[in-house]
Symmetry: C2
Subunit: 173 residues, 2 copies
Amino acid sequence: MILDTAVALFLTAGFAATSIDEVARRSEASKSTVYAYFGDKAGLFSAAVERLHDAIAESIDGEATLAELATSVVMTLHSDEAVGLHRTVIAESLRFPELARSFYASGPSRSTQMLLAALRRADPAITAVHAEMLYTLLLGESHRRRLLGLSGAPSVREAAQHARDALHALGHR
Amino acid sequence: MILDTAVALFLTAGFAATSIDEVARRSEASKSTVYAYFGDKAGLFSAAVERLHDAIAESIDGEATLAELATSVVMTLHSDEAVGLHRTVIAESLRFPELARSFYASGPSRSTQMLLAALRRADPAITAVHAEMLYTLLLGESHRRRLLGLSGAPSVREAAQHARDALHALGHR
DNA sequence: GCTTAATGATACGACGCAGTACTATTAAGA
DNA sequence: TCTTAATAGTACTGCGTCGTATCATTAAGC
């Protein structure tokens, strides 16, 4: 419960503007318990971010077909949770470089590798650079607009269409 | 001088963790003057962000050839200033939605329109969606890694190669 | 039933912040 | 020279913060 509250506050207010007193109050825990579990504010932040990241990452199935995997990446990464996580890790990347590193490794890097594996089932000559481009296109400007709070999450239908467009643009049909 | 100092502090420490006292001290101005010019902290933040944005935006020349324009976009948007601005606007987009809107309009939107115009000089049938994809690819994962502080700015040579790769991937040669 | 560990509740200290108020100083223009 | 506007220099007021300390309360395991 502490972590859930911390996730909600850190993602909406940012690291500096979130107070531990409020986390304790909203999670109906005492300040003592928060400090007992997480040591300090940075520890609580790291734990909250990792928790959210793990929840999101495990919802992508690398065994699916290419089209399914692509749609799943679009849907998952455009969700409120993933967008908030992405925004927060970028915002605090200078203060928490290690968090940024692990985020990229088990987020974008991992997704790109899954895409590469799926692509190679159809064409073994596909390169890693190509898979990275596909990943970039699957996010695209709609994801940047999401990061900036300028639009909402796409529907399943829109996500599937977006995935098709990205695959098509790179020559896959 | 006040604005230069504010830009430097907001971009490295974020909005909440930057104090007006420190801006005044580092810019060798008095707190009275800062408040006289910018009203409050939010006003100073907005003015600082707009100033930086304008300086970056005017360094892209829409009249250049497609290859030149593409390289220029890659170079400009991977600079320390542009990456810091991008990161900051994302970080504070929930607190400053109007800033996020104007950033996107005169940043990514404007660049995409320039790319569209350049693309259409060669092929009038090119769509806006296509130009948007090109913009996304010109940033690519290397730009995400920049936002996360995971890599440095590319050289001119690398930027030009990156631009070529993006154009090639979308079928332009 | 008793010991032990975990949690709650709360107060505190030291500090920093945003924004205001007030006076002193500078400089410029008529 | 005199007036006026801009700036400097501070001091002050609430307020909130992190992290620690203290004591009460609960619960669990043996």
